[in-house]
């Protein structure tokens, strides 16, 4: 399954108050690719992801899915936080997508349990999310997306609210599950290390309005782990990305934006 974004722009509001959130974004993913979208806060990365997910309509441009026939859903999204329903137990949260598609209870629980095991939550299956830590709740969200078996996984800064240690563990878990399933992933983040550690390619965005500034191939062998961050190639890439994004971060902090 391939995804192509063609000249996507999004304008919020009308008339005088209209602001251009993202501007003329075009890119394609390849089969099974892990693509990271990196940008300063407020650059419209989440907006872009929601357009790809079909949750928002672009003001212009189009999102095209193409490839082999598929039975399952096109995409499943892992949200920043609060995406897990507090009124459902862990199992029902993970099985939510299957339930919505009418998969019988027994089957959806069996399939969900499989992924709960993968993220180490099988013994918490019947507990409620509020009894678990924030990191565990994001694991629920990840399991929910994978068990839904979509063509493309969309992740909107899923680890943004986690502490550094938990984040490292979840990144490693995500890489492991992904390497077993080889789904196409589009992963939004503002963390350069995370983008390099996870991605096949890193798409760097400008500050508002978000445009594509750079597309970099990571080209570091997999499987990868945290030790990667001390290698010269990692540091070289990090410097390169930082130089590319630095100006954008500064601009987003001073509010010195292009006109819409």
């Amino acid at each position: 399954m391939k995804l192509a974004c063609r000249h996507i722009s999004k304008i919020f509001g009308e008339g005088e108050k209209a602001t251009r959130a993202i501007d003329d974004i075009s890119f394609e993913t390849t089969e099974g690719e892990f693509l990271c979208i990196l940008g300063p806060s407020g650059c419209g990365k989440s907006t872009l992801l929601k357009i790809i997910a079909g949750l928002l309509k672009p003001s212009s441009g189009e999102v095209c899915y193409s490839g082999n026939n598929h039975a399952g859903p096109m995409n499943s999204m892992v949200f920043q936080e609060h995406g897990v329903f507090p009124w459902m137990n862990v199992m029902d949260n993970v099985a939510f997508g299957l339930e919505m598609r009418g998969v019988p209870r027994k089957e959806r629980y069996a399939r969900s349990l499989d992924f709960l095991k993968r993220v180490g939550l099988s013994k918490h299956a019947w507990r409620n999310p509020h009894e678990l830590s924030v990191g565990m709740r994001q694991r629920i969200a990840i399991a929910r997306a994978f068990v839904n078996n979509p063509e493309i996984l969309l992740m909107d800064e899923p680890f943004g609210s986690l502490d550094a240690q938990t984040r490292l563990i979840l990144q490693a878990e995500l890489l492991k599950i992904w390497s077993d399933h080889k789904k196409t992933v589009i992963f939004v983040t503002h963390d350069i290390d995370e983008a390099i550690l996870l991605g096949d390619r890193v798409l760097v965005m400008t500050s508002v309005p978000g445009r594509i500034k750079d597309v970099l191939s990571v080209g570091i062998d997999r499987p990868r782990d945290i030790d990667l961050e001390n290698t010269p190639e990692f540091l070289a890439l990090k410097t390169k990305i930082w130089n590319s994004i630095r100006l954008e971060v500064e601009r987003s902090m001073t509010g010195d934006h292009d006109d819409a």
Partner: protein, 262 residues
């Protein structure tokens, strides 16, 4: 045996303060420091209470009041929550009904009681309807607010995972608005107590409100205190029972902020 202070104090201290106040009251009365005409000593009130219990006065009045409260509560709350949810979900319904709600909601429920007596007669129905009206608006407004305050992310998750309109309602909208629906129910129960006593003051021979009113007219001060005491107990009981139900139905409320705390 050593008892854990953390567990004993929450039970012990309120008991001490309550009995302390009662003892002080009794003492002041006995010493003639307060006028027994207005503030009869607690022991006399308790005596009156047991007397009223013995001749069934309390049971009769209490059951009549509770009947009015529960029937009125149900008649008001069920359509209140239903219409509130509907107004929360559908913008058209909200735009259509909001002005009517906004105009009628602020009217004090007791102010329309005479009108209700004209319409429904001076029997049970007008009293029940007064309570129902009180419950209706407060549950409606809270149910509507409950839906409208749902975190946008939940809707996005539901849409992204392909929820139909029915699934969206039963699996997301309804459970997500439960906390505010319960807030509405809690206020409605309190409101029911106020309204039932009010309408029983003016137009009833039985019920706790009527009992208090008759005690005032015959100047049986102890009975008056018993009535007030029963109202207080009812209020506390309602709150306790509701808290239990809330704890079972919406266990996540107030706990999301403290993950892992057990």
């Amino acid at each position: 045996m050593m008892l854990n202070a953390d567990r004993v104090y929450p039970v012990l201290l309120p008991l001490v303060s309550l009995t302390g106040v009662l003892l002080l009251w009794e003492l002041c009365g006995r010493l003639g420091l307060i006028n027994p005409l207005f503030f009869p000593v607690p022991s006399l009130i308790f005596l009156a209470f047991f007397g009223m219990l013995a001749d069934g006065e309390i049971q009769t009045n209490l059951s009549i009041t509770l009947f009015r409260v529960f029937v009125g509560f149900l008649i008001g709350t069920i359509p209140g929550i239903t219409i509130g949810l509907l107004m929360g979900v559908s913008e058209k319904t909200r735009l259509f009904l909001d002005p009517i709600v906004a105009a009628t909601y602020p009217i004090p429920k007791l102010a329309i009681f005479p009108l209700l007596m004209v319409i429904f007669g001076i029997g049970e129905l007008s009293k029940i309807m007064a309570i129902a009206f009180g419950c209706f608006f407060i549950t409606l407004i809270n149910a509507m607010g409950g839906v409208r305050n749902i975190n946008k992310v939940y809707f996005e998750v539901a849409k992204n995972y392909g929820a139909s309109k029915t699934q969206l309602f039963t699996r997301v909208v309804l459970p997500a608005s439960l906390p505010m629906i319960f807030t509405g129910i809690r206020i409605a129960l309190g409101m029911s107590l106020i309204v039932v006593v009010g309408v029983e003051f003016v137009s009833a021979n039985h019920g706790i409100g009527a009992m208090i009113w008759n005690a005032w007219q015959t100047f049986e001060i102890e009975k008056l205190y018993v009535g007030i005491f029963i109202c207080a107990i009812l209020g506390i009981l309602f709150t306790l029972v509701l808290k239990k139900i809330e704890h079972r139905t919406i266990p996540w409320v107030g706990q999301l902020a403290h993950p892992g705390e057990e």
